[in-house]
Amino acid sequence: MASALVAQSRSPVGRRLVGALALAAVLVLLLMVPHAGLYYVRLADDVLIYTLLGFGLNLVIGYAGLLDLGFVAFYAVGAYTYALLASPQFGIHLPFLVILPIGAALAACFGILLGIPVLPLRGDYLAIVTLGFGEIIRILLNNMDAVTGGPQGVMMIDAPRLADYALISPRSFYWLLLGLCAVIGVLVLRLENSILGKAWAAIREDQDAARGIGIDTVRVKLAAFAISASIGGLAGVIFASFQRYVSPESFTFNESILIVLIIVIGGVGNILGVITGAVALIVLPELLRGVAQYRMMAFGFTLAALIILRPQGLVPRSFGPVRLLRWLLAS
């Protein structure tokens, strides 16, 4: 595809024009989404939530190379933080903007809590412990009826308010999520290029060598877990305020797997890959609605096929947002 585009526009000026037009088209598309039908706005909200989750998990898997199969636990921590602090469950009704940082901070604490015992583990072992951790959190949510409402979950959660404006419609959430994705996206990109990001890359490529050149692997790994968990917590708070209902059903092992698949099919360790993966994996099941009863079967088959045919993901790791912009705009 890339070579075809290049061939179309041989002259540098034409090339730049095509690039600028493509960029403008994406921006216009993003602005047009709220004017489309409610179904499409909801779909876009879903894509954005999973993009956010993907950004978070990508820090741990893509940058630091630690396979986390229990990411949904942090998502659940964020969601239940909002659910319990802004609902009749305990009669507490804190404002949205107060809970947002609390949810993120609490998730970060859980991230460190998980991070400390698994510090010496790597690879498959780490994957399995994090998987177990995610399941333990879900079982606890399911069984601590007095606090979490058990399998029924927490209902009648407050609608979030920003100043005097109540966020109720999927459209307002679209803007909130789009803004948050942009902020987190830039943050993650800056992190990737920071000294911390370089340390993560070093650990990912060779932990012993990284320690050899003086990287404090403990601190750096815990930072990855904490930051990634806090992004998961943020997404959870927004999810709870959007659904206005949470139950353990939303935080199963399959959800963790979906997020891992998003970043792996998109292209691991790359923000563009996360976005591509989120769009692909959330939109694909919707496209398969035509074959309603075979939908999940076809989805599973496509996932396996995508991984087998393109194990490195749709977007190569080196093709980041900066290179995309340069490729589109520069001659």
């Binding site: 898997i61 010496p120 177990g132 333990i136 069984n143 599973g300 396996a304 096929a305």
Partner: protein, 316 residues
Amino acid sequence: MASLILQQLVNAATIGAIYALIALGYTMVYGVLRLINFVHSELFMLGAYFCYGLLALGIGGIGPAPAFGVTIAFFAVFALVGSVGVTIERVAYKPLRSATRLAPMLSALGLSLFFQSAVQLIAGPQPIQFPSIFPSARLTVGGAVFTTTQLLIVVLAVALMLLLATFVSRTRLGVLVRAVSESPRTSALLGIDVDRAISLIFFIGPGLGGLGGILYSSYYGIMYPTMGTIVGLKAFTAAILGGIGSIPGAMLGGFLLGFVEVVGTALLPVVSHGLLGTDYRDIFAFVVLVGVLIFRPTGLLGEQISEETMVYKRDY
């Protein structure tokens, strides 16, 4: 009191034997390919469904089946699920052998979703009552009541495990399997057909897992498309507990996990004065899992791995 303990021990042995049988598939595959075969839990589920289908076809109805039909069904399920396992390895794992370790794990998860929804589509998502394929007379020994089904499950599972142990340690093909799991590269240099050994492992492991599915479903009298998920995770825990890659370890781990789970569930409401109920049953496996991996990642009978990196020393 003594009868209560005996009763729980029998229950633990039954479920433990099933865990052990399934754990063998995880451990054998991991031993050779260093791969968590996530699709194994679905093969376990397929075993139960295949058996049901065969019995329904064979005797034109579901009722207490004649022993001959059941025996045939056991062999057929072993062969069928084994073939599915070999096909999965060829299609989904072999092309990814040089890719990152993450890729085969995820293609397995995709396939897992595929099998679950395929079975849901064909047999329906609702639980199906499983025919009682074993005679289910009640036995009372020392005050403990158990059924002949439980007894047969333990006997069959242990017999299968002994058979596997003999196969691996006494036969030529078994030597092949052991050599390849010791070091695929050296085995290839010595002229062993590594792909053949891997296919053999992907035949035996899933085959045993499928038989585990039959035993599980006849113990609980029920089967459903998602039954593999949680049992698979528990069997995997058993494999880790015993030391992943070790065949005797998987057997020991299965029985031990069954024991921890049954006794733990029975004791929990008593110890916590009714605060924590039996709902927490599923948490034991995961607590054991996390505990073992953190304090003794090699498991009980596992091979020595370097502590710092958790990478098998012989990989270097």
